[in-house]
Symmetry: C2
Subunit: 252 residues, 2 copies
């Protein structure tokens, strides 16, 4: 069959050690991938190791919770200091109840707990934030990997987000560099000649979701290679392209 | 590097012809895949060809639009008959404006236009509906493929849904048979010994998103094989498992 041609491979990059602030993450990824990187590959990197390398960890022992954080934490048996960090990382609260805060982050992402996460962080008293600018993080990784390997590979920084109306989280792209994150079919036609209307595909999110399948939550695989997808090179492609413009957002 | 081991392949199944009501879709898929199917493969099939095989097409020439459909269509320059079909496929309107209807379908999916779609349907006067029971459709395909090949392969029926707050659509699983669509890490620990809290992954949606990457909107590839993912076999796994239970839904 023809299925063996032009398929896509999703490859885990194993052997990435625990990342510490200041680490040269690109160098660590390139070493872990051995000689395995090829032209055309897309690298998907979980934000967790990017944030760690960038020092985006908060020691809760130094956090003084506000009255709002204390009340919410008391009601739902949460750590008030962690709630305080969530509030600080938010620019707008979308929902707050049942022990969950859904908010818009300073970047514009709408997600649970403003991307603040205590899992996969060493030490019970620390939490991990999203990178300050995940697109810039992706760009720096891409540029440093190009320096090290002579390969200009798109880089996606991922996080796991919940969704309205659907159960379970999926990985999405929060930072993108080197590729067009959307595939825009508007104005095109299907094979029957009908116009394609609502057809802007969030391919960077689909690539990121695919990468998650080889990462898992507990497997210690924070990097994956997506090989064989014919992405469109775009130096201005950005994770912000994947945010619904506020004027079109029916769920603000 | 170790990336060559235990990766996942996403393979397009080409050569599926235009599907007509009553076609033996499983037989067509097996033929298109040649001898290419293997134990452990997951088949992702777009709902469009499932709906066509099941005759879930509506000829708009026989649809009498309601007053509500007429008003909405006039305001946004839409086909009132198609709006009428959307209303009939809905059990609850979530948002209605800007020419878009977001509704809950009779199955419980919240999506644009109740899954009613005019693209990739032959004839300007026809629209395609979601299958009546996408889980049952997936199960029938799985059972018939097992008859034909002696392989019991999970089958996912997919559709493209928009998301709140994010731009661009992604493919999700609307019907599932033969696998656990969620990977539940709750109660587990990360490698640092911290509890994993919000960690139920919608792996069936991630698999479906991955499959879309080899399908595209205009390539005429309505089936993909996902190979190498260690799914959990589950005869009761269902697309309904991917719906947020109403009592936990913060966005109803």
């Amino acid at each position: 069959m023809e299925t063996t041609s032009r398929g896509i491979e999703i490859l885990p990059v194993r052997g990435v050690p625990e990342i510490r602030p200041g680490d040269d993450l690109a160098d660590i990824i390139v070493r872990a991938a051995g000689n395995g990187l090829r032209a055309g590959d897309i690298l998907v990197v979980t934000h967790k190791i990017v944030s760690k390398a960038e020092g985006r960890l908060v020691d809760l022992r130094g956090v003084e919770p506000s009255a709002l954080a204390k009340r919410f934490a008391a009601e739902y048996d949460k750590d008030a200091r962690q709630i305080e960090v969530v509030l600080r990382e938010s620019r707008r609260i979308v929902r707050m109840g049942r022990g969950v805060i859904i908010s818009e982050t300073h970047h514009g992402f709408v997600c649970a707990n403003a991307g603040v996460d205590a899992s996969n962080v060493p030490g019970a008293e620390s939490v991990c934030l999203l990178p300050v600018d995940p697109d810039a993080s992706a760009r720096r990784l891409r540029e440093r990997i190009a320096q090290l390997t002579d390969l200009d590979l798109p880089v996606i920084v991922s996080d796991s987000f919940g969704r309205a109306w659907r159960f379970g989280i999926t990985d999405v792209a929060v930072g993108v560099s080197g590729m067009e994150p959307l595939a825009d079919y508007r104005g095109g036609e299907d094979p029957h000649g009908n116009p394609l209307e609502a057809s802007v595909l969030a391919v960077a999110d689909e690539i990121t979701a695919a990468a998650e399948l080889v990462m898992g939550k507990t497997d210690g695989v924070p990097v994956a290679i997506v090989r064989g997808y014919g992405y469109r090179q775009d130096d201005r492609g950005s994770g912000r392209d994947l945010l619904m413009p506020p004027e079109r957002d029916m769920f603000r």
